[in-house]
Symmetry: C2
């Protein structure tokens, strides 16, 4: 049985949980708390020296790290339903949107969180002035993605894909930093409601 | 013939140039200057509305964006020599190292550059205090990667791969921000010299 080391509140393992739920992959889930330091103890560092979740442990004990790499592995092993595209061009289109969202929405969301949220006070050197810039960058990107969704039902085209998982979990992760869909972003709002209604959104 | 829209000084298109050089892929290269605003004019925005290079234009005029997605596309179309691994587990190992370097070294390198370098003065709102934190994060990551290279010849194992391209171009990109290999990082230094000696490093 596959084992997933997870933190219930972290965005990266949530991507993997949602991906596995869409494919109905069975796995054992082991919850750790980043906040309580459980990803920094010797036992976990033996699985991933970087002390990051998710880690997917295979039947033979091999540990896979990095959520995007894990999802690509799972797509090969459990191809149905396809979430990363079925031919080279479709795969590239989806991948391109995934990369875009990761670098233009997810990364600045993590920076906004780290540099503005009280959770990080005293844990890292916060620079709130920079956090505000990062937050604005995220808000600008959601506006662009709202416009994109005027032209297509899902983030990467006509089909639900990993790009929607990455976008939805990024949007959810933004909430504690005050990053929300606003009422004028009707396309983003429609899309958010549709993704939230999928059972995998609760995984 | 494939066409690559490029900026000679930007790290993301350099990844693709190096990848194509390793595979001896022929293409037409079109150089633009981000600094001179050439990626923001209407002609280029028609190819990529985000105004980012690289863009790879296929024979039929389709435009592919995002360097990592472009390289994965090229790997499928030009499989030799393999740079992304030949079976699912090897692909995952390489991908995992690529993701690690992108998020832990490349992203903070871009932030250090943007928030400390004079090129960006007056172009964006700089927060030098944050730039210094980002720079330190990059330096810490290179130290970890130096330790990793004590145990294996290349970033992702025994073979040269895309992980080395991503790491090398990130290290090169750090230079204007004062991010260098130090004399005590003997493994990183050995690896850097080996990668620099490959013809693709000059692509």
């Amino acid at each position: 049985m596959l084992k997933l080391y997870n933190d219930p509140f972290a965005p990266s393992p949530r991507r993997v949980r949602m991906f596995m739920a869409e494919k109905a992959i069975e796995y054992e889930r082991i919850d750790l708390s980043i906040a309580a330091g459980e990803t920094q103890n010797a036992g976990f560092l033996a699985l991933n020296p970087l002390g990051e979740v998710p880690v997917l442990v295979l039947d033979d004990g091999q540990c896979l790290t990095e959520s995007l790499a894990i999802c690509r592995y799972l797509e090969q092993r459990f191809p149905e339903p396809p979430l990363l595209g079925v031919d080279a061009l479709e795969q590239t289109r989806i991948d391109s949107v995934v990369q875009r969202i990761m670098f233009r929405a997810y990364v600045p969301s993590t920076l906004a969180f780290r540099h503005t949220h009280k959770f990080w006070q005293g844990r890292i050197e916060q620079v709130p002035e920079f956090g505000a810039i990062a937050k604005q960058q995220v808000l600008d990107e959601w506006q662009l993605l709202n416009d994109t969704l005027a032209e297509r039902p899902f983030m990467a085209g006509d089909q639900f894909s990993f790009a929607d998982i990455v976008a939805y979990t990024t949007l959810e992760f933004g909430k504690p930093s005050g990053i929300r869909v606003n009422d004028h972003q009707t396309h983003l709002k429609r899309w958010q409601a549709e993704i939230a209604a999928r059972p995998s959104a609760k995984a």
